[in-house]
Symmetry: none
Subunit: 204 residues, 4 copies
DNA sequence: CATGAATGAGTGTTCATTCAT
DNA sequence: CATGAATGAACACTCATTCAT
């Protein structure tokens, strides 16, 4: 199965388009994709349901574009980190910080991704999610393994288990994070890293 | 608008009933509650959709019973831990271990809870979810706070943030955990606690 | 001061108008009236759907104008034949030849007429179709009856049945006829008349 | 006492199914497939639109089953004729008679076929229409050619043109034929064959 | 207990049409 | 003249639910 790279139909007036996508993403995130009717989206956008179809092919194509846009930006940030030639500990710190920044910028998209991607990957249209997941896993696993090899991380860790815990904790933050709240993404990242790297127990 | 209770058969053969609930829980967990049609459940159970209504009032009542059963058992375990008079570190260890055991026993229910509870709590019928969440938060927060006070946990932690991380990481494991796999719940708990308590970084 | 008219007028550039009608007729004929969206017509005409409404009141009014134009021309030809004072056999020959000429000139309109007129006559707007059908039937029936009376046609014919066969065979040719093909309308008429008048069996 | 035999338990009520298909066929024939809403079909059947979907997958699958059933029966009759080893003139007579009998039995299906098949063949689902058309054309052309070779039909005929005329006239009769009217299918076939074989002109 | 058949509200989507620019 | 964006009614279809048998 080849990763069909279909370009999203970016024609005219990208402003209105991404405005509507932002609205849709919020409703998807809040109510769930299936439970979100296209009428609800239209209500939030101040128009009628049918009018959305002037801008988008389908409800599903909105979802696709939301997720694609998010993942494209995510990988821009991740690739910059991974190409920077940092040590494993610094790479992990940078990846975590970058992740919380993405949550800050794309909270609805992240929440949708968290909740729906498992069902979606089965569809060919969303095969790009699987591709992204593979790259994601590879980036994290290699960082953790490198850290163990270089004695930055503990040798007795089950790397796959650690990867799952780290991955999930980071992204699940999208479910409670509120942009503009009292914690900046960087502050959350710092606290989180402190916990993950050094543990919550007092050192003796 | 009072819900007309017509023929809830709580007296009917409880074996068949919980068998059907188990089937329903698996389908809910795999496909999502909204995306699960009552017909799919019936297919898995080898009957027709309409026949389920002899056993249950509605699709929603199946969901409710699944979640109630799970939470009842969960609190049996949690209360035993909380009433045991352990220190904060041991309480945390016991709560985490108990949680992974619940995931082992009620994986579908936990997965459903993770995915759907946010939408459900808004409905009066599922108010018990909110109640459970309050108790849950109180148990964890007080354990963490007690640990900080007694110098078992680091003093510089943001307790609420730590609570959220711990809570989410534990339960999100239900999304990838497979009973009968290579890790027992106790082993996963041990690894997880090692990471959370002592961190993944090498101590100097 | 001339009062500004709201609706487009018949006085607007008639060339563009009939060009658009020709386009519309082709699409109607090929895809069927109901299955033809106004957007498809606009695509063929190189404009947007809404723009058609500067030229026409509605999709239905396009259909009406296409059929009216066709029937007007048809009756010009038919009336010339009927007023020429020919004998029944010559009248039949001339009507058939004229019909194939109309198919040659207005193939899309004829195809539309064949396919849609039965549904359309029920609407008041298309009552002129019923009127035309009456005149048509009268012209043919009287020619056939005259032919029987004057011993040009066989006496044992069921005239109504014969009328229906002749009528349908002639017009249904619009469904396969392609202008500019290997058969001219006159050649088709000749072959058809040979068959209808003398039969396909070998004479003994 | 012998144990009571189990009920035949044949496939679920084919009676209701074909009853509904008959209703649908009539509405399709009268209003056209596209113009027929499933609501209209349901109204005619005395049920709600959604209820049709208990019996059929889609509006399109109803259409398919109607056409398939008709063509299957048609070819039963045609094959019997073609395998009977008749001379060309007798074959033509038998095919025409058989065709009018099919119109008598399946008038709505024939009318639908006439009106919609041209659009439908483009869809893969209705590829069987093209197959049927090929067999149909082959049967008629070979009969006509054999007739010319054996001097039963005139040598100066354009065989393809004759085929088209004969084909169309026969089937278009479905648009005006009313079962139970004053003409039996056999009587119409006789009149039609008299016209086609011997012509309508008086012999000199 | 289970089935077969139906209901009816709701869902995503289409499309002729309008109108300010 | 044409466009871009919207409307609103209708459409095919889904699905939780009911109920006589």
């Amino acid at each position: 199965m080849p990763p069909t790279k279909k370009k999203p139909q970016v024609t005219a007036a990208p402003a209105r388009r991404s405005e509507l996508l932002g609205t849709a993403a919020e409703v998807f995130a809040e109510q769930g994709y299936n439970a979100t009717t296209v009428r609800k989206i239209a209500d939030h956008a101040g128009m009628l349901a049918g009018s959305l179809y002037y801008h988008f092919d389908s409800k599903e194509s909105m979802l696709e574009e939301i997720l694609r846009t998010f993942l494209d930006e995510l990988w821009d940030g991740y690739d910059a980190v991974l190409d920077a030639g940092l040590g494993p500990r610094e790479t992990l710190q940078a990846l975590v910080t970058e992740s919380f920044r993405e949550i800050d910028r794309h909270r609805p998209a992240v929440a949708i991704y968290q909740k729906e991607s498992k069902q979606l990957v089965a569809q060919e249209r969303f095969a790009f999610l699987a591709e992204s997941q593979r790259r994601f896993e590879k980036a994290w696993l290699s960082t953790l393994e490198r850290g163990v090899a270089e004695r930055a991380f503990r040798a007795d860790l089950d790397v796959r288990l650690t990867y799952r815990f780290v991955r999930d904790t980071v992204w699940v933050a999208a479910s409670w994070y509120r942009p503009g709240g009292q914690h900046s993404p960087e502050e959350i990242a710092r606290q989180y890293l402190s916990m993950v790297l050094d543990g919550i127990a007092v050192r003796e």
